[in-house]
Amino acid sequence: MGRYVVARLIQSIPVLILVSVISFGIMKLVPGDPAVLIGGPTATPAELDNIRQNLGLDQPFHVQMGRFYAGLARGDLGRSLLLGKPVLEATIERIPVSLSIALYSMVLTLFLGISCGVIAALKRNSWADQAAMAFALIGVSLPNFWLGLMLIILFSVHLGWLPTGGYVPWQNDPVGWFRTATMPAVTLALLQVGLLARITRSTMLEVLRQDYIRTARAKGLPEFLVIAKHAFKNVMIPVITVIGVIFSVLLSGSVVVESVFSVPGIGSLLGSAVLRRDYPMIQGGLLFVATALLMLNLLVDVLYAYFDPRVRYDSRS
């Protein structure tokens, strides 16, 4: 297993290099002169020169690239133009915010998605199946910014149960964290629950038709064990793969949802960086998100090997 993880880590290096090239290329790919975009229409030529010098845009291409990678190697992703502090610092500050909401949302997604899917499969074609699948379809169909706004109108404006936005760190006040994190997490989760429920349902139906389920019943095992042990671990194999996809959608969804709920996370940071053309921040954010996704994929593959022994042993040979 250790060798498998190391091999996977080595495999992710080329991807990281590619991501860094793209992230560096952003400055080059921007139509027009980045200095003009940053300086705005009122900037004087002297101010523009100043901006170019600060960003190193007056240097030849290879020098710019060399500086970028030298900085990267030192963990220096440049300074955010807007926040006036190092990009790395600004990113790291906001990781716990986004990560805690993402994990909360993931737990909700897994719980609701898997249980809806399993119930729908076990009670196939019953009203429970129909209800679970209708719920799933509605969740997939609603745009998350709209859903977020509706939740704010209902729970904050009309009922007054939850604050309209903001964020309270868990370590300061767990109750406050729950009050601020719940609506963003639910908004992000509802989009994914449907996908997960449908995949769980179809996989469960497929697994229940397998010969080994008949064997488990022939052993005289109670139906609970047949489902929760023999079927469930097999159902989890494709579900794990989907969880990786779900997490990546969570990350991109957080840009919109964090803005709606004014949560100071990576998503809203990236969102405002894009809107205000804070290029070093966009570069750094892109690198961070790509690295996070790579790590997540690695985690998914390791989990996959845990659930499916056939993968475990294939990797050894």
Binding site: D211, Y212, R214, T215, E223, Y313
Partner: protein, 335 residues
């Protein structure tokens, strides 16, 4: 064969199983009756779709419902009717008193649990023993079914074993709680010929050692000849002939049994073509009235298409369901 015989280990009377679809109900098993003494080996022989497996699944209480449904009859096991039993009561019989092994060893084991876990599970559940005791039993069972280096195998997964080895594991699981009855549904069909013989040999020696009764379901009369005491030949959901092995092979009384015997390739005579029974098993949706074999029977006469032949005694322990068995043989000789 009218009333169930509670002196027997298993006594099936007038079992009727239907499969209900939108297009209508299909009788898969239609009035099957047979008895099985403790330690006896019965072979149920027939083509695909004759109702052999459905009969076994009904005994296990594992009929897929819906669409399957037991429409009538009794299944007396150790003096108790299994059909009215609750699911919970059946669970205590399945895997403990009655076990079953299946045709597909490649897919019958759960791919994500170890061999040891899958063998131990039955023992832990039925005998309420700890993991250590269950593991000892699993090891003992793996040795009994002839698995080399059993201790290492306990930690392995099904995909690491061959089909023959997996069928041995299935047998180990089935016999782990020393059942009184083993239902073996085509246990060798999916295996290589050389492995088939090994598995049959293993089943025979274990049957002898455990003194258990076995119902061996097969389409292969060769398998029957090697292993069983008595044979029931099934056709389109009914038993058409039942006799001891010698009776079936030497004095077949039903034209279908004769056809099956004639279709076994012979090494003694020079044959250029195999003899096949013309036609196919009728669909359960379009069963002929009267004798269901009549459309394929070269001895069929007008009454065969209207009268359902009962299973009539043809000598000691021998029965056949053919209204014309008195004269079809002489006629057969003439033609």
């Amino acid at each position: 064969m009218g009333t169930p015989n509670s002196a027997q280990l298993l006594s099936v009377r007038d079992l009727r199983v239907e499969f209900e679809y939108e297009s209508g109900a299909a009788p898969a098993v239609d009035g099957v009756s047979f008895d099985l003494a403790p330690g006896e080996v019965l072979g149920i022989v027939g083509e695909s779709g004759s109702g052999k497996s459905v009969t076994a699944l009904s005994i296990m209480g594992l009929l897929p419902t819906p669409p399957g449904r037991v429409a009538g009859g009794t299944i007396l096991f150790e003096g108790e009717d299994l059909l009215p039993k609750s699911p919970a009561a059946m669970r205590h019989i399945r895997g403990k008193r009655i076990s079953m092994i299946f045709q597909e060893p490649m897919t019958s084991l759960n791919p994500v649990f170890t061999i040891g876990d899958q063998v131990m599970e039955t023992v832990i559940y039925h005998e309420r023993v700890g993991r250590r005791a269950a593991r000892d039993r699993a090891l003992e069972m793996l040795e009994k079914v002839g698995i080399p280096s059993p201790r290492a195998r306990l930690e392995e997964y099904p995909h690491q074993l061959s089909g023959g080895m997996r069928q041995r594991i299935m047998i180990a699981i089935a016999l782990a709680c020393t059942p009184a009855l083993l239902l073996a549904d085509e246990p060798t069909t999916a295996l290589d010929v050389t492995i088939q013989a090994q598995i049959l040999e293993l089943l025979r020696s274990l049957q002898d050692e455990f003194k258990m009764a076995v119902v061996l379901i097969t389409h292969d009369l060769g398998v029957v000849a090697e292993f069983v005491d008595r044979v029931a030949v099934m056709y389109a959901g009914r038993i058409v002939e039942t006799a001891d092995v010698a009776g079936v092979f030497e004095r077949p009384q039903h034209p279908y049994t004769e056809g099956l015997l004639a279709s076994i390739p012979s090494l003694d005579t020079e044959q250029t073509r195999l003899t096949a029974i013309p036609g196919v098993v009728p669909s359960p949706f379009e069963l002929p009235a009267g004798c269901r074999f009549a459309p394929r029977c070269r001895h069929a006469r007008p009454p065969c298409t209207t009268i359902i032949p009962p299973l009539l005694p043809r000598g000691a322990g021998h029965g056949a369901a053919c209204i014309r068995h008195v004269d079809y043989r002489t006629e057969g000789l003439k033609s």
